[in-house]
Symmetry: C3
Subunit: 206 residues, 3 copies
Amino acid sequence: MPSFPPLFVVLDLCGVLAFAVNGALTALRLTRLDVVGVVTLAMFTALGGGMVRDIVLGDLPPASFLDWRYLAVAATGGLVAFVFGRHLERVSGPITVLDAAGLSLFAVVGAAKALEFGTGPVQAVILGTVTAVGGGTLRDVLIREVPTVLASDLYAIPAMLGASLLVACAALGVPALAAAGVAALGCFTLRMVGVRFNLHAPAPRR
Amino acid sequence: MPSFPPLFVVLDLCGVLAFAVNGALTALRLTRLDVVGVVTLAMFTALGGGMVRDIVLGDLPPASFLDWRYLAVAATGGLVAFVFGRHLERVSGPITVLDAAGLSLFAVVGAAKALEFGTGPVQAVILGTVTAVGGGTLRDVLIREVPTVLASDLYAIPAMLGASLLVACAALGVPALAAAGVAALGCFTLRMVGVRFNLHAPAPRR
Amino acid sequence: MPSFPPLFVVLDLCGVLAFAVNGALTALRLTRLDVVGVVTLAMFTALGGGMVRDIVLGDLPPASFLDWRYLAVAATGGLVAFVFGRHLERVSGPITVLDAAGLSLFAVVGAAKALEFGTGPVQAVILGTVTAVGGGTLRDVLIREVPTVLASDLYAIPAMLGASLLVACAALGVPALAAAGVAALGCFTLRMVGVRFNLHAPAPRR
């Protein structure tokens, strides 16, 4: 992603930090880990989705893996969560907001990158969603949880909405930055509405 | 797989549908999921094995990912299973047969594609087997089951037989279509015999 | 890795054998598997780390997958563990030593290959560690254990030390063979000290 403006990289790194902190806190809440485990899971949560996208696109080695800033920010997020875990639980409000921002950014970036690589629109929506929720899914698999994205909350659906908005805007010829803004806002809004009103995707009747 | 005849694509899509429905039903039986989770797991079951094969072969992005028909059929299978879950349980006989057909097709296609990419015979057998059982294994990991393929039933072994028959036929110069027919029939027969007589691979004595 | 001398391949195959036997024994201890499952998990443990490294580096198909000797040795290790499982538990001492040797070799080889592919030093340390611990992590995910590498023992840290020593030696211009020796020795020593004195990485206070 060398063509993205510096502002974009800063936003992207904020998303990485939020995902790393939130991923490490989730892992600490659910299982017993040492410092290596916490930092590893923070890095998986923050960078895993983008890496799966890049593997599917065949863009190897993955860009975020070659850029040391992504690795450093993700590892720092994990260390911060490891050291301040108990205190960070108290500020879960801001962390949820940051996480929703990360979700939005990752969905938009993932879909945009897929389009750049020439995939069809459906594939771009899938890869945008994978970028946003893939890292958390890998973390949940590693700590032996059923991935929350499969079973609860509106989490994958806002990401899908964001990616779809970006793909639709691109098809309509909306300029890149405006498209990214609209798409990220849509994802962020739906995610926060879901958190506020505790919405869920439909589940089978028992 | 652009060189395969149309009949072949139709058969392949039938296998995808069977795997998607069966994968979603298995997931619904074992864990609590919303509609996003069920469709996701159906797509993993149906397309995961081929994607892992393509990643190992370095054929990226995976062919079945770029072809929207595969995505659409897999997602449809998941939706059908989500909506009609309870009723489909009653027709588990036909679904088992369709699933065995899918297993046979995937084993044969996977092994043939590996040979096309110039791997050795052992590698082609492994990749045929991975194509056939990889998707179900990914699903089981995501819903936190020990992959059934590792622990029960004759499931991987028929796939291995089918892939081996294809590789052997190819080495003996049997024409492609006949080789595929023989190999798929071998896999299908052993799978159905295993289901009928409840056969298992040897397990360690306790 | 065509440029490595024959001695090196022999050592590498010893590491593969140790990982395969140890991986299969761990799987047998923790869950009920048939012979297909045991051999599959042995192969994942022995070859999975290197394959993940090669996927990230984009070096596909993975070298160890194309070399039948690696597949044969890994499968043999799994079969040996399946057949002699109970007896091998009694020689766990030598197996731990062999496993530590495999860990050291894999960490060094993985880091060296990453450097050869032009990654930065941090990435080379990560990929060396992934090569060493990735296979066992995949096995643990498949048998539904929280990966031991995330939660206990000094296992990832010696691998990280070995990979770091190799990267540091390479940066200082130490000749390849001496660098590999120093790095492997560092990893092996720390691992065995950890086993002997039952050391752990810091975990969060409860």
